[in-house]
Assembly symmetry: C2
C-alpha cells in the first residue's frame, strides 16, 4: 500500500491506473453489478494501491445530503456533560444512527460566536438532520435550520415552544407512580423533596406526587425544594424532619437529593427503610451506591435517544414537517430503600 502523504487520491486517478473510465470505476464503488470481472478487479487493485478514499464533500454536493446527523450537546462548562444520564442518551442515539448507516456528528458550542458558526455549518448542508440536547440560545438555531428544511428534534420539552418536535420523559407519571409505590407500601406521611420551581420537569414530578396523595386522600403539604444535587437534598431533608417527626417516606426528585436526604436521616438517627422509606428519580449509578440501595424512577434514556433519532431521520425523508411529539413512560426500579414495612 503506497500512500502519498498530503495528496488526496481521486476517482479519476484510480480509473486511469485501472485503464477504465471514471464512470466504470464509480460503478465498482457503488456496487453496481453491471461491471465486468476484469474491470472490477483492475479498479479494486488500483484503489488499494493508491489508497483511494472517496471525497465525501463531493458526494454530499451531488447527493444533496450528507448521510450524517448533527447532535448539539450542552457546552462543557455546564455540568450537563457530567450527568450520568448523558452517556446513556448518546449511546441510544448512536445505536440508532449506526443501525441506519448514518454518521453521528457532535457539536458543543461554548459561546455566541460558536453558535453562529455552528448555525452556518449545520445550515450549510453538512448534516441531514439535527438533534438538539440543549436549549441554550438555540431558538434561533432551531428556527433557521427548519427554515432551511433541515429537520430538528429536541431532547426534552423546550420551554415555551409547542411548534417544535421533541421526545420527553413523562415526569408526571414518574412522580405519580413513585408516590403510589410508597403508599402501597403502607406509608402515609410522605414528604417530597422537589427540584427548582422554575424547572418544568421538576414541577411535573411534584404534580405527580400531589395527585397520588390526593387520590389516596393523604395530605401533600410536606414539600421542600432543592437544587437537584446531593447537598441541597441533605438540607431539605433536615428541614422536613424538623417540620414533622412523623414522616415515614420521602420521594426525592433526583437520586442525588435522595442520597443527601439519606445522609441527613442517618445523622438524625432515622433508619432507612425501617423508619423512613425513600425513593429517588433517574436511576443513576448513585442509586446502587447508597446503603441501602435506593429505589428510583428509571428514565428510559436510551429509548429516548433512539426515538429521537428515529423521528428526526424519518422527518428528513418526509416532505411535510408536522411537529412530532413523543412522551416516554418511566419505570420503577424497586430496591431496599422502600421495601421494609412501615413502623
Amino acid at each position: 500500500m503506497e500512500a502519498v502523504s498530503g495528496s488526496a487520491i481521486t476517482l479519476a486517478q484510480v480509473a486511469r491506473l485501472a485503464g477504465v473510465s471514471r464512470t466504470t470505476a464509480f460503478r465498482v464503488f457503488s456496487d453496481n453489478p453491471a461491471v465486468s470481472q476484469e474491470a472490477r478487479a483492475a479498479v479494486e487493485r488500483a484503489a488499494v494501491e493508491l489508497g483511494y478514499v472517496p471525497n465525501r464533500a463531493a458526494k454530499s454536493l451531488v447527493a444533496g445530503r450528507s448521510e450524517s446527523v448533527g447532535v448539539v450537546i450542552p457546552e462543557p462548562r455546564s455540568g450537563l456533560l457530567l450527568d450520568p444520564l448523558f452517556p446513556r442518551l448518546l449511546r441510544g442515539i448512536g445505536e440508532e444512527l449506526s443501525a441506519s448507516g448514518l454518521q453521528m456528528v457532535l457539536f458543543a458550542p461554548q459561546s455566541t460566536p460558536d453558535i453562529q458558526r455552528l448555525e452556518q455549518y449545520l445550515a450549510g448542508g453538512h448534516v441531514d438532520a439535527v438533534i438538539l440536547l440543549t436549549f441554550h440560545d438555540s431558538d434561533t438555531l432551531s428556527a433557521r435550520l427548519q427554515a432551511r428544511g433541515i429537520p430538528v428534534i429536541y431532547g426534552g420539552r423546550p420551554p415555551g415552544r409547542s411548534d417544535v418536535s421533541f421526545v420527553d420523559v413523562d415526569n408526571h407519571a414518574g412522580g405519580l407512580s413513585a408516590t403510589e409505590h410508597l403508599i402501597a407500601q403502607g406509608r402515609r406521611r410522605i414528604a417530597h423533596i422537589a427540584g427548582p420551581v422554575h424547572s418544568r420537569s421538576a414541577s411535573d414530578r411534584a404534580q405527580g406526587f400531589r395527585e397520588a396523595m390526593w387520590n389516596s386522600a393523604l395530605r401533600s403539604d410536606l414539600v421542600a425544594h432543592g437544587e437537584m444535587d446531593r447537598d441541597s437534598g441533605e438540607v431539605a431533608m433536615s428541614r422536613l424532619l424538623a417540620e414533622s417527626h412523623e414522616i415515614d417516606a420521602v420521594f426525592a426528585a433526583s437520586d442525588a437529593m435522595a442520597a443527601g436526604a439519606m445522609w441527613a436521616m442517618q445523622v438524625l438517627g432515622r433508619r432507612v427503610p425501617d423508619d423512613v422509606a425513600i425513593i429517588g428519580f433517574d436511576d443513576s449509578p448513585l442509586a446502587t451506591a447508597t446503603r441501602p440501595p435506593l429505589s428510583s424512577v428509571r428514565q428510559p434514556i436510551e429509548d429516548m435517544g433512539r426515538e429521537m433519532t428515529r423521528l428526526v431521520v424519518n422527518m428528513s425523508g418526509a416532505r411535510k414537517q408536522e411537529p412530532q411529539h413523543m412522551i416516554l413512560g418511566p419505570e420503577l426500579q424497586i430496591r431496599q430503600s422502600t421495601l421494609a414495612a412501615a413502623g
Copy 2:
C-alpha cells in the same frame, strides 16, 4: 424573511435576484472590496430575502479543506465521558478552535462498524485535522488518516507508539512533587496508593513517588494498588494501615482513591491531617468536597486541550509531518489535608 422550506438557496439564485453575476455576488460574501455600493446592497438584500446560507460541501470541495477539526472521544459506554476532567479538556480544545475560527466536530464511535464509517468520513475530506482522545482500536484510524495527509494528534501518550504526535501531562513530575511536598511537611513514613500496574500514567506517578523517597533516603515499600475509584482506595488504605501503623502520609494516584482512603482512615480513627496527611491527583471537584479539603496534583487539562489543538492545526498547515510531542507540567494545589504538622 421568506424561508422556503426544504429548498437550499444557491449563490446563483441570490445573484439572479440581485441582478448581478455569481462572481459579483460571491465577492460580496467573501468581503472582497472590489464591489460597488449598489451591487453590494442588492446582493445583501437578496440574500436576506431568500435566506441564503452558503453550501459548505461545495466550499470544502473547491477549497480542498473544511475549516473544521475532528475530535474523536471515547465511546459513551466507557466511563471516560463522565470523568470530570473531560469537560475541561473539551473546553480547552473548543476555546482554541474558536479562536482560530475553526469548527469543532466531535465523534463518539461505539462499535467496529462505527469506527470504519468514521474512518471513511474523516479520511473523506470532512475535517482538516483530527484530535484523538481515545486509543480504542484507533491505530488503524490514525495510520489511515496520516496516509491521507490529515494530521492527527493524541491526548495522552498512545501505548507503544512513538511515531505519532501527542500532548501529555508529566505524571512522573506530578508524583515526584506530590511526594516531595509531603516530605517537606515533615512526613517520613509515606505510603502510596497506586493505580493499575498496566497503566502507563499510573506507573509514572508511582515512579515519581519512589524517586522522591529515594532522594530523601526514605523507604518506599508501602505501596498498594487500586483501580483509581473511590472503593478501591478505601480497600487499599485499610490494607496499608493493617500493614503499618506508623504511616503519617499518603500519596494517592487519584482524588477518588484519596477520598476512599480518607473514609477508611476515619473508620479506623486516624485523623487527617493530624495523624496522616494525604494528597490526591487530578484536582477534580472531589478534592474540594472532602473534609478536610484535599491537596491534589492539578493536571493542566485546559492547557492540554489548547496545546493539542494548536499543534495539530499548525501541522495541517505544514508540509512535512514530524511527530510532535509536548509534555505539560502539573501544579500542586495545596489544601488542608496536608497542612498540619506531623504528630
